[in-house]
């Protein structure tokens, strides 16, 4: 072999990220140094990582034992196709986000820029290390570093009580999840007390223990992914964090949970039972619907995107469940299709959700407003941000020439054949999932119309919006990078799937049927005759637009008159007459009423200052988390009488403990 190894290149780039973070501490207060030098360097580092990972996708796995770690407990790292794919996702998405962040972070509030730089790059590096780790110890260290560094990033503006509260909730659920993952590793070592992943691959678990490990992992990684009912931290933490951090958390960090789930299910556990798949499938479908319905009811733009992330993670976990079912019953080609759909959707979501979060960041920066009720008409003031965000919104809505459509289409393709699963009842119920996925996709389009229309179209709802400035050059570059990625992933699906092939073959152990279709036509299952050609689609749309424009120019009577919009003769159309975020979401709130814990404040006809308020609360928060919190508090209160604050009492405790232990030993 040559001296160059892609594993060591990845490790080096990840270490470089850490180094960049540390350099930030040299001049912690200098926005110029940190923003204009270190963040672009970090972006370059990410781009390099993406290139290295993409090149190494098809190459055979390689592993190393690092000379760091506790005595007798060195860290193992490994790079295989799955790792490469997620490293590519991390590098490529973070490149765009870091460039944007270079222009975004300014002096003034919260954490000093240098410290922020350290936390940010530590976050990136720990995510990279999570992907490379090849033993439970290294994995957990990286996993916890990731949780902690992102906690500090979420609480950048730690002066505000609500942000501290959001950060605490995030940390709490991250740790509950981490405990479950740790327990899962504990089960998977299977009595060998070897915590390397190699040992876990070799361990032979009894079926019930394998299922236990799977369910624990699903709980742990589901908490990170924001699966309902472990989703409550997402809509709190995302609005609290600065936008590049929200983008990174939603676009990339959630994908580490997908990675972990794939690693545990298909690699460490190996032979997954088909019925395991029903659990992520059920929770995934429920999360998809729940997330999108709540997104429709939101009035805070970042909260809306956070709920949309829950929806997308739901779709990804649905794909995971479907893949497990198909592979478990011995339908490898359909299992591979479901895996492709879920990996493709992970990639797509990383780019489009980052793009949208950065778009909201630019809006937030320029207007200081997160509330949809005080935005509007920004397409005139911020054309760059508006048009680039439009691409993200179209992709998120799942419209054809863009990337969001491809993966959802693939998932639906996989679903449509699930009636062939040779299990009674299951083969009748599974196709219903396709209906739910389709419903979630349609509602996602509705949510995106609301998101985009209320922020960028119509009239500005506040006078201050007329002073809004478009994003700076660095921010634009970041947005353009992500928007181009969305286009590329949407227009060239055959290449993407070709690249995913090695990952899928590694995971499913099945040879993919080689496609005989031309490069521009996507044919997931040759014998089924379903195909899609985004390029032709795109060209057809472009051609229709151009031809229509020419036709209008040439043949229309040219007597075009610009007139103000028809206002029924009353005049004075103002911004308060526009459809509002609440108004747009009202039908969904009404139809899906049982999902919400709704509180309405209606004015009486005799009110002098009438006020209308409606809040759509989360039933799961009220029904599950609040009672749980109360219970914990009550237990803590009961135990607290032990803590008397007198040294003699504590000495008595020690004495009693000693006596009891002695009695036990003797």
């Amino acid at each position: 072999m040559s001296v160059y190894s892609s594993l060591s290149a990845c490790l080096g780039l990840i270490a470089l990220w850490g180094l960049i973070g540390l350099v930030g501490l040299l001049r912690p207060m200098s926005v110029g140094f940190v923003g204009r030098t270190l963040f672009p360097l970090g972006a370059l580092c990410g781009a390099a990582l993406a290139v290295v990972a993409a090149v190494s996708l098809a190459s055979p796995p390689e592993q190393l034992t690092l000379a760091v770690g506790l005595p007798d407990l060195p860290m193992h790292v490994r790079r295989d196709a799955l790792t490469s794919l997620f490293l590519f996702l991390l590098g490529a998405a973070s490149a765009g986000i870091s460039v944007f962040a270079a222009g975004y972070f300014r002096r003034g509030h919260g954490t000093a820029p240098g410290l922020l730089c350290l936390q940010y790059h530590m976050f990136l590096a720990s995510m990279g290390f999570v992907l490379l780790a090849n033993d439970a110890y290294a994995f957990m260290v990286a996993w916890e570093t990731m949780a902690l560094s992102s906690y500090f990033l979420v609480t950048t503006q730690h002066g505000l009580a609500e942000i501290r509260r959001a950060g605490f909730l995030y940390l709490l659920i991250a740790h509950v999840g981490a405990i479950a993952i740790l327990l899962s590793f504990g089960v998977m070592q299977g009595g060998s007390w070897q915590f390397t992943f190699d040992a876990m691959r070799g361990a032979h678990l009894a079926p019930q223990w394998a299922a236990t490990a799977f369910l624990l992992a699903l709980f742990g990684f589901g908490a990170k992914a924001g699966l309902v009912p472990l989703h409550v931290w997402l809509p709190e933490a995302h609005p609290a964090a600065p936008s590049p951090v929200s983008a990174l958390m939603s676009g990339v960090m959630l994908k580490t949970a997908v990675y972990g789930m794939l690693r545990v299910t298909f690699d460490l556990l190996g032979h997954a039972q088909w019925w395991w798949g029903l659990v992520p499938l059920t929770f995934g479908l429920f999360s998809a619907l729940y997330g999108v319905v709540f997104a429709a009811a939101q009035t805070d733009m970042k909260r809306l995107l956070a709920y949309s992330s829950i929806e997308n993670m739901g779709i990804i976990f649905t794909g995971l469940g479907l893949a497990i079912v198909f592979l478990g019953v011995g339908m490898p080609s359909l299992g591979a299709l479901a895996l492709i759909a879920l990996l493709y959707h992970s990639l797509n979501h990383a780019f489009m959700k980052s793009l949208l979060f950065l778009g909201t960041g630019a809006v937030l920066h320029s207007t200081g407003e997160r509330n949809l009720g005080r935005l509007g008409g920004l397409i005139h003031r911020m054309p760059w941000v508006a048009w680039l965000t439009l691409i993200g919104a179209l992709a998120m809505a799942g419209l054809p020439p863009l990337n969001g459509f491809v993966s959802e289409w693939l998932l639906l393709q996989a679903f449509l054949f699930s009636n062939e699963v040779p299990r009674p009842f299951i083969n009748m119920l599974l196709p219903l999932g396709a209906a739910l996925v389709a419903l979630a996709a349609a509602l996602a389009a509705y949510v995106m119309v609301k998101f985009y229309g209320v922020i960028f179209l119509g009239q500005p709802r506040e006078a201050s919006l007329n002073r809004a400035q478009d994003a700076g050059v660095l921010e634009r570059i970041g947005l353009i990078w992500l928007a181009l990625s969305c286009f590329a992933l949407g227009l060239l699906p055959t290449y993407v799937i070709g690249a995913l092939r090695s990952v899928v073959e590694q995971l499913s152990g099945a040879e993919l049927p080689s496609a005989h279709a031309p490069w521009w036509l996507l044919v997931p299952l040759p014998e089924r005759r379903a195909s899609y050609s985004p390029l032709v689609f795109f060209l057809a749309i472009a051609a229709v637009v151009v031809v229509t424009m020419f036709a209008v120019r040439l043949f229309y009577h040219r007597r075009v008159r610009r007139a103000p919009p028809w206002d029924c003769g009353f005049g004075g159309l103002n911004s308060r007459m526009q459809d509002s975020a609440e108004g747009f979401g009202q039908p969904i709130r009404h139809i899906f009423g049982p999902f919400f814990a709704m509180k309405r404040e209606l004015p009486s006809p005799f009110d002098h200052a009438p006020r209308y308020r409606v809040t759509a609360g989360d039933r799961i928060w009220l029904a599950l988390y609040l009672p749980l919190g109360t219970l914990v508090r009550r237990v803590a209160d009961t135990v607290m009488w032990l803590q008397q604050g007198r040294i003699s009492t504590y000495l008595l405790y020690s004495f009693v403990t000693l006596v009891v232990l002695l009695a036990l030993v003797v």
């Binding site: 007597r559 008159r561 007139a563 103000p564 028809w566 206002d567 029924c568 003769g569 005049g571």
Partner: protein, 179 residues
Amino acid sequence: MRRRLFKNLFTAPCTEPVTEGAATLEVAGAQLRGVIARSLGRSLAIREVDAGSCNACELEIHALSNAFYDVERFGIRFVASPRHADLLLVTGPVTLNMREALERTYAATPAPKWVVAVGDCGGGCGVFADSYACVGAVSKVIPVDLVIRGCPPTPTDLLQGLLELLSGGAALGVNTRHS
């Protein structure tokens, strides 16, 4: 219930025959239909504008659409937005409050277009003439192609007026220059 259903199935609806002016109506309507087909090629879209009327004219205009007159068979249609209209049917002595709305409606109607003032008020000599609250005739606010007098004019009068307008001197496009 059953009896009523069967009755409705097998007997004609209980309406009175059109007696007074029925022949005039049919003749005017048939001519109008021909004129509309010739000059517009499609149907005539009317937007009604109440510029402060006492609603007597509205009652008569509304009657055009009922089963007696049924003007849709002649190719006349009332539309909800001036954006879709060929013709504005304006009633009432233009009140000060409705003046701007009338101007806006006129501006919102795509050219070429006609304006027909309906009733004595719209023509400028109704019972509200010279009131402090009124501007006066419709023609004081926007250019008018035809005035149909009457307090209120009957539906047949209205149809004959429209026939006059479409077949007579007023070629489509009188109001074009005011756009």
